[in-house]
Amino acid sequence: MTVMEFFGCTFITFGPPFALFLFTIARDPMRVIVLMASGFFWLCALLMSSIVWFAMVPLRDHLAFGVVCSVLLQEIFRFLFYKILRKANDGLLAVSQQTTEQHVTPKDFSNRHIMAYVSGLGFGVIAGTFSIVNVLADMSGPGTIGIEGDSKYFFLTSACLSLCIILLHMCWGVIFFSALDKKQWIRVGMVVTAHMLFACLSLVNQASSSDNSEVYLGSLIPSYLLLFGSGVAAFLTAGGSLVNLKAALICRRGRYEIE
């Protein structure tokens, strides 16, 4: 009965990541491997945070404690993954060279932002999946939410927030890795702060009810503003600029001009 809702929310959450995977990752096996590996690291972070949550018996019922703890652990594991990826760089380079005589460094390794982006997306996809998959399972039928007085926009909000965290992780991956490369600790701190901000914003949603659906806007709007900010920062970090973007937009015409 609620199949349409189910598919709608699935497309919202996983549409953009799917497009990114399809056009930028799927064609290169090395990127797929790194994507999976970073997903695995996020899972390790989840495992650690659940152990901590489980061990802290008196704090189990306090959602905020679990959230803060989990955010910190996720960032620690992102750092660990960065370390390992950089250590494995030479090895990865070796296996991706197809002939022994190949002297050109593959683009993926010459441009370090690519692996940063891939691992950020891996983090994001698995985080987003874990945040939405239970909700999706309930959404598949036969009913929708609301009999206990909850807002009917819960599913839609969950889907949008999951999409947001996926894309945020992607941006943070780029910023975080580049900041570590250049030892810019302030930017590392900013990523952690942004993550903490996003996580704590979602706590606002607890106040929602069927008569009070506007509460969701209180977390959705700041979250997407944060995404916009992070997106711009990551774009600039990766070497993009407004000028380049304009050039790309007119490139078709430009191509003929060059001819």
């Binding site: 809702e5 598919f7 953009p16 497009a19 010459s110 009999i147 009917k152 990766a238 070497g239 191509r255």
Partner: protein
């Protein structure tokens, strides 16, 4: 003749949807206040409420389909996992006890057994919901009380020369086309009643020709203003056995003298109302039969076989509000008094019919049913089985499960199992052993059937409390009480024609297991509008992101100036790259 005009036949209707009964107040509250009133109830001038609407999903998986014949045939199929049983025949155990212990090597004269019977069960759609107060409880409790009274003078009857044997029979499964009585009649014709043994000392066979007369108690709880009961006979039966029937009616009416119970003869042209006796008459039409009920034409019980056949409606729970639980148990209700009078009359009649002489004054005094036992039985069967009478009368094994029981035991016959007996039948069996048996001095482990003399059954029950402690005395009861299968002959006879309609062919489906067990879910159904908008939004997000990412990926080299770290070389954009 339509006996139960108040009945709607709803139980036999195929509704095509699962039906659930919610008896727990909190469940009902949830359905009404969290679901129906809040989301679905229409205002006066409203045509329909707006979405979201509240809906419920009911889940009951039953394996059987179509009819008994089909499901039994399918049950015989073997799969690699073994037998795939889909349904089970309904039935349980009948209980009976005889006054005389005639072994198989003595003679039992024809027309020498007086059979008194009553049914145990009621039809039921939801196992624990049907209390069957008048449908069956009044009848079999009256019979049990009469039994208790009669066995006080058992020695007198047994000593009387040529005294007729008296058999008390309790039929189970009668609500489903007379499973119990047809089963007993069938085993009588097969010569396997009461015991199917061919060696050792056992009871003499009782066959249909041995039956001298049959008195049956039906519903006796709803009496009219004069408090009278009706004696029904069968017109065909009257043709052949008029003299004997008249004698029975006179005898029964004489027995009520001085008692607060009136027995009136029903119109002789009326057919016999639905009763277990029908099964005996079908097989042998010349057994004189009298059926005692509380109605002449229409049922006075408007809730025959119904969920509303409650003890409140037959004054079986007329407690004043300040009574404690223990006082309620001991309070002699109006119905209990009425039943005790009837039982006394029945016991006196049976004494007279068996010995051929009216009881003398002292015997008559002894032959009085105990109204306090009757009220205890009504309390235990209808209000709470966790009562002193049942505690005393169950075996130590069953005592544990009795402790945790709150609701009265179900009056639904359920499916037949050769090993297990329903609580109802077990309790009636134990009560019969208690009322008719002798306490013998045997320990719990020694209290079992004697290999050489199988006429007697032995039952170990908890007994009364010892002094003030929690210890119970423990009685070993030696009695002539026996149980026999109440399983429709349709499932016994090889090649029985299922369409013939001769015997009951009721089966109950097997139910879904753990994963798809019985459950109800309440939830909201969202409006189509909201669903479609979410879907459209999702599709738009998907398509847009595909387009944007595709565009970005082919222009990546334009957008991102590759600032290669490490090597320091700056690669520039080249359209030819």
């Amino acid at each position: 003749m339509q006996w139960n005009s108040a009945g709607s036949g709803l139980m036999r209707e195929d509704l095509g949807i699962p039906v659930f009964a919610l008896s727990d107040e909190s469940d009902v509250f949830k359905v009404l206040h969290k679901c129906f009133f809040k989301f679905n109830l229409r205002e006066k001038n409203e045509t329909a409420r707006e979405y979201p609407l509240c809906a419920a999903e009911l889940n009951t998986k039953m394996y059987a389909a179509i009819d008994t014949e089909t499901c039994l045939r399918r049950s015989r199929h073997f799969s690699f996992l073994g037998k795939n049983e889909l349904c089970d025949p309904m039935g349980d155990k009948n209980n009976h006890v005889t006054m005389l212990n005639i072994p198989q090597n003595e003679t039992r004269a024809d027309d020498s057994v007086i059979v008194v019977g009553a049914r145990l069960d009621s039809a039921s759609l939801f196992t624990l919901e049907y209390q069957a107060s008048d449908t069956s409880v009044t009848g079999f409790v009256s019979l049990l009380a009469a039994m208790e009274a009669l066995w006080k003078v058992k020695d007198k009857i047994r000593k009387t020369k040529n005294a007729k044997d008296i058999m008390f029979a309790f039929f189970h499964g009668e609500a489903y086309d007379y499973i119990g009585s047809s089963s007993m009649v069938y085993s009588m014709t097969q010569g396997t009643f009461p015991q199917d043994l061919d060696h050792g000392l056992h009871l003499h066979k009782i066959q249909l020709q041995h039956i001298h007369q049959l008195v049956e108690l039906n519903q006796v709880g709803y009496r009219d203003n004069e408090g009278s009961l009706w004696l029904h006979t069968d017109p065909n039966n009257r043709k052949t056995k008029l003299a004997q029937i008249q004698k029975m009616i006179d005898g029964l009416q004489d027995a009520t003298q001085g008692l607060n119970v009136t027995l009136q003869e029903a119109d002789a042209t009326l057919p016999l109302p639905p009763a277990s006796s029908q099964r005996f008459l079908m097989e042998q039409s010349d057994i004189p039969v009298v059926v005692v009920t509380d109605h002449q034409t229409q049922f006075t019980n408007k809730f025959y076989n119904s969920r509303l056949d409650l003890p409140e409606l037959i004054n079986a729970t007329d407690y004043s509000p300040d009574l404690s639980k223990a006082d309620k148990y001991d309070h002699v209700t109006k119905q209990a008094e009425l039943i005790a009078e009837l039982s006394t009359a029945l016991a006196r009649y049976l004494y007279q019919a068996s010995t051929g002489a009216a009881p003398d004054a002292t015997t008559e005094q002894t032959l009085t049913a105990n109204s306090s036992t009757v009220t205890h039985m009504l309390y235990c069967f209808l209000v709470s089985p966790n009562c002193e009478l049942f505690k005393e009368t169950v075996s130590p094994v069953n005592a544990e499960s009795l402790k945790t029981t709150v609701l009265p035991y179900p009056f639904y016959v359920g499916v037949y199992s050769s090993q297990q007996t329903r609580e109802l039948s077990t309790l009636v069996y134990s009560l019969m052993a208690r009322f008719t048996g002798d306490k013998v001095d045997l320990s719990e482990s020694d209290c079992k059937e004697n290999e050489n003399d199988k006429r007697y059954s032995y039952l170990y029950v908890q007994g009364t409390l010892k002094g003030k402690g929690q210890e119970r005395e423990g009685w070993c009861l030696k009695s002539l009480v026996h149980k026999s299968d109440a399983l429709s002959p349709a499932f016994i006879i090889d090649g029985y024609d299922w369409k013939s309609g001769k015997y009951s062919t009721w089966t109950e489906s097997r139910w879904g297991g753990e994963s798809d067990s019985i459950r109800v879910r309440l939830f909201l159904v969202p409006s189509k509008q909201l669903q479609v908008s979410i879907l459209v939004f999702g599709i738009v997000v998907l398509v847009l992101s595909l387009l944007i990412v595709y565009w970005c990926s082919i222009h990546a080299t334009h957008i991102f100036t590759n600032r290669l770290t490490g090597s320091g070389t700056q690669s520039t954009y080249s359209p030819m790259f």
